[in-house]
């Protein structure tokens, strides 16, 4: 009832939500949790309306391995041109 897993958090532009989720599932993730967010980063303020677009915050729990693959893929394909932030952290999955 307690397994060490990796939590990967991805913050990116809402316009990419479907694209990123498709990638993540194709790479083998078994699930995700996403929610609306706003933010500021190197790509400027993202305040979330039709005009400027907001961010989406996606959480994926999986093996370290899976998270590595996701990070590598997204980094290569989207990091230069889109607002994208990724961080990982070890967590205990409790069910």
């Amino acid at each position: 009832m307690s397994q060490m897993k990796t939590l990967l958090v991805i913050v990116t532009e809402a316009v990419l939500e479907r694209t990123i989720i498709d990638e993540v599932l194709a790479l083998g993730a078994k699930g995700f949790t996403s929610s609306e967010a706003r933010g500021l980063g190197t790509h400027g303020m993202r305040s979330g309306n039709w005009t400027v677009g907001g961010n989406v915050r996606i959480e994926i729990i999986g093996d370290e391995d899976l998270c590595e693959r996701i990070v590598a893929t997204l980094h290569k394909k989207y990091d230069t041109d889109y607002g994208l932030l990724m961080f990982t952290c070890p967590v205990n999955l409790r069910n």
Binding site: G44, M45, S47, N49, T51, G53, G54
Partner: protein
Amino acid sequence: MNAIEPVVLFFLLGVIAGLARSDLKIPSAIYEALSIFLLLAIGLKGGVKLAEYPLGSLVVSALAIVAVGALIPLAAFPVLRFLGRMSRADSASIAAHYGSVSVVTFSVGVALLDHKAVSHEGHMIVFLVLLEFPALILGVILARHGEAGKTQWGRLLHEVFFGKSILLLIGGLLVGYIAGADGIKPLDNLFFDLFKGVLAFFLLEMGLVAASRIADLRRYGAFLITFAIVTPILSAIMGIFLAQALGLSQGGAFLLALLYASASYIAAPTAMRIAVPDANPALSIGASLGITFPFNIFLGIPLYWWLSEWIYR
């Protein structure tokens, strides 16, 4: 107050609230709902009017209007690239924004004509929809010219046709066309009677957004500011002369001027974000929303109206 519609006062209220850092904000869900409403309502109105004309008679005007409209991004691109020394991607993206149109600016123009009781051709809305395509497609071609063919054309076309703004416009157009004025009548209370009130609400939000953009202006420098004011004026003049040549009414000429003069901030940003991701969206949205939109609303609309009167008298 003569040539300014009362709804514009709501835009002003939004700008003031934004500059004063009021805590007023329109929830984004409401903003999206208002956008959907405006696009559908405009499409429906256009579709109903379209059903009254023989479609064939529009083909020539439509071709001419689209062809001349394509000149806007084609002319803007070299100006941005060589005069403004901007990157290829940025130049192409900004050019596409100015070739494209602003549905809200158009709506304020229609509201003004209603206010003045000046009639116009019902099919202007068809031109509004058509003008999106050359602008966005040229934007991509200009951005990619000379590069290996890495453009995702499929995805771009998908984005243009099925992106929410075009989809709602075309969808509304078809529903209005199929159902006709009688079929749409039970929907009039929502889509037509409330239109101006919703537009006022929407302009309040636009004012808040524009105010948040104004702070960025100095970062763009004098070139982009000048570009964002001169381009619409020249485009509008081109529109009025073309309208006269095509035999449109003065109301139609004014609206065509406004279509050419306005810059997109809904369809174009999303499409360009996907098609030309290496362009900086802050530049194109800043110029179109922070400068051109308020310019058109406050000064452009009276100016183009006055020009149309002058040329049509």
